[in-house]
C-alpha cells in the first residue's frame, strides 16, 4: 500500500513569510509525528498526534510553529514569520501499535528560508 507522503518536496521562502507543510500518513495509522532534521543531525521531535488531537507538542521550538490534524488523517505543519534558522528537512512519520511502534517516515519537505 501507499506509504507516508509529504508535499511539497521542496519549499523555498523568504524570511518572514508563512509556510504550510502537508503530511498524508499511512491509512489506518492513528499516530502521526513531525520531526525536523538539520544537516548532519538525527531527527528532532516536534509534535505528536494521536487521532485528531496533539498529544504532545513539547518539541515545537516556539509559538511560530503550529500543527493541525483536523480529521485524524492528513496533518499540516504551519510556520509563521519564517526565520533562516527554520531551514531544515521536515519529516512526517506515522505508526501503529500493530507494527511494534515502528515509525514509517515520509520523504520529507526540504524548507529553505532565504
Amino acid at each position: 500500500g501507499a506509504g507516508v507522503s509529504q508535499t511539497p518536496s521542496n519549499k523555498v521562502t523568504e524570511k518572514g513569510k508563512y509556510v504550510e507543510l502537508r503530511c498524508d500518513p499511512i491509512s489506518g495509522h492513528t499516530a502521526l509525528y513531525w520531526y525536523r532534521q538539520s544537516l548532519g543531525q538525527g531527527p528532532e521531535f516536534l509534535i505528536y498526534f494521536q487521532g485528531t488531537g496533539a498529544a504532545d507538542d513539547s518539541g515545537l521550538p516556539n509559538d511560530r510553529f503550529f500543527a493541525v490534524r483536523p480529521e485524524g488523517s492528513v496533518s499540516t505543519l504551519k510556520i509563521q514569520r519564517t526565520e533562516r534558522g527554520d531551514s531544515a528537512v521536515y519529516l512526517c512519520a506515522s505508526s501503529s501499535t500493530r507494527t511494534s511502534g515502528v515509525f514509517y517516515f515520509g520523504p520529507g519537505t526540504r524548507l529553505t528560508v532565504t
Binding site: 543531525q41 519529516l91 511502534g101 515509525f103 515520509g106
Partner: protein, 109 residues
C-alpha cells in the same frame, strides 16, 4: 536528560571488511530501533529490538540489544558498497523517539 549517542560518527571501510556501530543511551529502555537513511532520502526502518538480548539479522547486518548496558550494536559483515548510508539508532521515550546523531558509513570498493 535522555541522550542517545552513536559512535563512530563517520566510518569508512573497505568492501569485505567487518565493523560494528555502537549506540549508547542514557536511561533504561527495553526497545531500540535502527534506521537507514540514504543521501537525500527519508529514513527506512531496519530493525526493531524489543527485549534484552534480542538479536536480529538481515543480510549483512545484525543488530543486538543489551538493556542492562544500555547498548545496542549494529554489526556489518563483509561490507559491500550498497551498504553506504547513514545509520541511526532510536530509543522510544514518552511520546517520541530519540534519535542518535547517526553514523555515516562509506564502503570503499
Amino acid at each position: 536528560e535522555l541522550k542517545v549517542e552513536q559512535n563512530p560518527l563517520f566510518l569508512s571501510m573497505q568492501e569485505g571488511k567487518n565493523y560494528t556501530i555502537y549506540c549508547n543511551y542514557s536511561t533504561t529502555s527495553d526497545r531500540l530501533y535502527w534506521y537507514r537513511q540514504d543521501p537525500g532520502k527519508s529514513l527506512e526502518s531496519l530493525f526493531v529490538l524489543l527485549s534484552n538480548g534480542a538479536v536480529k539479522q538481515e543480510g549483512r547486518l545484525m543488530a543486538s540489544l543489551d538493556t542492562k548496558a544500555r547498548l545496542s550494536t549494529l554489526h556489518i559483515t563483509a561490507a559491500v558498497h550498497d551498504l553506504s548510508a547513514t545509520y541511526f539508532c532510536a530509543r522510544p521515550g514518552g511520546n517520541q523517539f530519540y534519535f542518535g546523531t547517526g553514523t555515516s558509513l562509506t564502503v570503499i570498493p
